[in-house]
C-alpha cells in the first residue's frame, strides 16, 4: 500500500504549518523525512497518520483517501511509534506488546495474538524480557518493546500496511539507533510495509533510507534517493550549515560531515 500526500496544506491558528505538499512513499521501502526544527516534519507525519486533518489536499492509503476509513479501520492499516510514551501504571512487557493486538481482537486476546506478540519481541531481541515489568527496563529497552508493540499491531501483514516512526532513535544509544533503523528497513522489505520515519540525523538517513524527503518551513524542498539528492547546497538550504559529502569508507552509502562557519 503506497501512501500519497496530494497538495496538502495545513494551518493552525492562522499559521501556515504545511504548504502544498505532494509526496509518495512506496511499500517495501523505508522513506525518511528530514529537516530542521520547526520544518514541519512531525506535522506532516501527523497528517499522514490521520491524526490531524489538513485544510486542503488529501492523503491516500492505496486507492482510498484517509477520510474513508474509520478510526478502527485505520488502526488495521497503519501503526505509529511515537517519540515518547510515558506510562503511569506499569505492566508486563508481554501485556504491553499485546496492546498492539487491540484492533484485531474482539474481546480477549487469544493464543494467536500471544504468538504474534512473542514473535515480535523476538524480532526486537526482547523475548527474554516478556515477563518483566516495563518499568524495570531501561529507556532503550522500553523503546524496543514499543517497537515490538507496533509490529504486533501490523501483525502478519497479509494486508498492505504502513508503519510510521516519529524520531524513533531519540532515546537510543548508538547501537540501538542502528539496530532499530536496520530493523525498520528489514520489516519494510520482508513484510512489504510502507515505512515512514522522521529523523534528525542525516547520516542515519543516508545509511538506511531508500528515499528521503527534505523539508524546510513547511515545504518539501527536495525528495529522492539519498545518492541522488544529498549535496552541500541542499544541506545548506535545509539546515543552514556547511557540509562535505563523502563516500562511506566501508559501506556503500554516503557520509555527511557538517560544520558551522
Amino acid at each position: 500500500m503506497s501512501i500519497r500526500a496530494d497538495k496538502i496544506s495545513l494551518q493552525i491558528k492562522k499559521q501556515e504549518i504545511l504548504k502544498d505538499i505532494s509526496w509518495e512513499a512506496r511499500s517495501g521501502q523505508l522513506s525518511v523525512i528530514i529537516g530542521g526544527n520547526g520544518a514541519g516534519k512531525s506535522s506532516l507525519l501527523k497528517v499522514l497518520t490521520g491524526q490531524w486533518k489538513a485544510q486542503e489536499g488529501s492523503v491516500h492509503y492505496g486507492n482510498k483517501t484517509i477520510d474513508q476509513y474509520t478510526q478502527a479501520e485505520l488502526a488495521l492499516k497503519r501503526a505509529v511509534l511515537s517519540q515518547q510514551i510515558k506510562l503511569t501504571f506499569s505492566m508486563s512487557v508481554l501485556d504491553l506488546v499485546l496492546l498492539g493486538r487491540y484492533p484485531h481482537v474482539i474481546h480477549q486476546v487469544g493464543r494467536k495474538d500471544k504468538e504474534i506478540a512473542m514473535n515480535m519481541l523476538e524480532k526486537v531481541g526482547m523475548q527474554d524480557f516478556a515477563k518483566r515489568e516495563i518499568f524495570s527496563l531501561s529507556g532503550g529497552q522500553q523503546q524496543r518493546v514499543h517497537m515490538a508493540r507496533v509490529l504486533a499491531q501490523i501483525g502478519d501483514s497479509s494486508k498492505a500496511q504502513a508503519l510510521f516512526l516519529d524520531e524513533p532513535t531519540n532515546s537510543l544509544d548508538i547501537h540501538y539507533q542502528h539496530s532499530l533503523l536496520d530493523m525498520a528497513k528489514q520489516v519494510a522489505q520482508e513484510m512489504k510495509l510502507t515505512v515512514i520515519a522522521v529523523l534528525h540525523d542525516m547520516n542515519l538517513a543516508a545509511r538506511y533510507a531508500d528515499y528521503i524527503a527534505v523539508m524546510k518551513q513547511g515545504q518539501l524542498i527536495q525528495a529522492g534517493t539519498p545518492e541522488k539528492i544529498l549535496n552541500a547546497t541542499l544541506i545548506k538550504e535545509a539546515f543552514g550549515v556547511e557540509s562535505v559529502i563523502l563516500e562511506h569508507p566501508v559501506l556503500n552509502c554516503l557520509q555527511v560531515i557538517t560544520y558551522y562557519s
Binding site: Q71, A72, T88
Partner: protein, 323 residues
C-alpha cells in the same frame, strides 16, 4: 450479621433467612427478624453496592486520567453533591420540615445526586470549550469547580445553625446507618448498570494506558470513551453520596491495591476492585458499628483512618516496581 450492639447467634441469623426464604415455617422472634432482615441485611447490601461502586468508578477514573492520584472528586461530582447537600440542609430542611422523615431522607439524596451530576456536566462543558475535551483541561476544570463548590458550601455553612452544622458534618463523614430496603433498591440498579458499562470500557482503558494519541492509533475513539467513563463514574459516585454521604478514600485506594498485586489490566482491575471495595466497606461498617458501642462511628473516618496508613505501608513495600 449477628455482631453488633445487640448480638444475635449465628443459628438465629440463619433461622431468619430460612424463614424468609420459606425453608423454615417456624417464625423466629419478631424483633430478631426485624433487626436482621430489615436493618442489618439491607445495611450490608448497601455496603456491598456502595463499596463496589466507589472502587469501580475510582479504577475507571484513574485509568482515564492516567493519574494515580485521580479520584472521582476530580470530575467534580463530589464537590457538586456536597454543595447541593449543604444547600439542602441549610435551606431545604426548613421547607420540608413538616414532611415525613422518609421524604426528607430521599429528597436530600436526590438533591445531592443532581448536584453531583450537574457539576460534572459543568466540568465537562468547561473543558470542552476549546476544541473538544482535553483530559488535562478536564482535570483543571475539575479542580476549579471542586474548589468553587467548596467555597460556596463554606458560605452556606457559615450561615447555618448549630443543628444544621451537625447534620452537615455527619453527612460529610458518611454512614450506612440509614439503609433500608428502599434505599438499597434505589442504589442497586444504577450501580449495576453503570458498573457493567464501565467494565465494557476495560479494553479501551487498557489502550489508554499508553496515552491518548497511542490509544487513537490503536483505533479507540477516545472522546467517546472519555464521556462514558465520566458519565458513568459520576453516576456511581453520585448515587452513593446521595444515599450514604461522603465516603472518601475507597475509590482512590482500592484500585491501587489491586494494581499492586495484579497489574493494571482493566478487565481484572475493575472486577477485582468491585469485589474488594465491597468487602472492605462491609468490614469497615462492621467496625464502625462495634468500636464505640452502643454509638456508631461515621464510616468515612474509619476508611481513611485504617486505609491511609495501610496504603502507605504498601507503597513503601513495593516502591521499586510501582509508580
Amino acid at each position: 450479621m449477628g455482631i453488633g450492639t445487640y448480638s444475635v447467634r449465628v443459628v438465629d441469623v440463619l433461622h431468619v433467612f430460612a424463614h424468609k426464604l420459606g425453608i423454615s415455617s417456624e417464625a423466629p422472634e419478631s424483633n430478631i427478624v426485624y433487626l436482621i432482615w430489615n436493618i442489618r441485611f439491607p445495611r450490608i447490601l448497601m455496603g456491598i453496592f456502595v463499596g463496589c461502586a466507589l472502587a469501580i468508578s475510582g479504577a475507571a477514573v484513574q485509568g482515564l486520567f492516567r493519574n494515580p492520584l485521580a479520584d472521582p472528586s476530580l470530575i467534580g461530582v463530589t464537590g457538586g453533591a456536597m454543595l447541593a447537600a449543604v444547600i439542602f440542609i441549610v435551606i431545604g430542611g426548613s421547607l420540608l420540615a413538616g414532611a415525613p422523615v422518609m421524604v426528607q431522607y430521599f429528597a436530600l439524596g436526590i438533591f445531592a445526586f443532581l448536584g453531583g451530576l450537574a457539576s460534572t456536566f459543568l466540568v465537562y462543558r468547561l473543558a470542552s470549550l476549546n476544541q473538544g475535551a482535553q483530559t488535562s483541561t478536564l482535570l483543571l476544570a475539575g479542580v476549579a469547580i471542586t474548589s468553587i463548590t467548596g467555597a460556596v458550601a463554606g458560605f452556606f455553612i457559615y450561615f447555618s445553625t448549630e443543628e444544621q452544622l451537625r447534620d452537615i458534618t455527619f453527612w460529610t463523614m458518611g454512614s450506612l446507618s440509614g439503609s433500608n430496603w428502599m434505599s438499597v433498591l434505589v442504589v442497586a440498579f444504577p450501580v449495576l448498570f453503570s458498573s457493567v458499562i464501565l467494565y465494557k470500557q476495560a479494553r479501551g482503558l487498557d489502550a489508554l494506558l499508553l496515552g491518548e494519541e497511542e490509544a487513537e492509533f490503536l483505533g479507540i475513539e477516545v472522546r467517546k470513551l472519555r464521556s462514558r467513563v465520566i458519565i458513568h463514574g459520576a453516576v456511581l459516585v453520585g448515587v452513593c453520596i446521595a444515599m450514604v454521604g461522603m465516603i472518601g478514600f475507597l475509590g482512590l485506594v482500592i484500585p491501587h491495591l489491586v494494581r499492586l498485586y495484579k497489574g493494571a489490566k482493566h478487565h481484572f482491575l475493575i472486577i477485582a476492585s468491585g469485589f474488594l471495595g465491597a468487602i472492605v466497606l462491609v468490614l469497615a461498617d462492621l467496625l464502625a458499628r462495634i468500636v464505640v458501642q452502643p454509638a456508631e462511628l461515621p464510616i468515612g473516618i474509619l476508611t481513611a483512618l485504617i486505609g491511609g496508613p495501610f496504603f502507605f505501608y504498601l507503597l513503601l513495600k513495593s516502591k521499586h516496581q510501582y509508580l
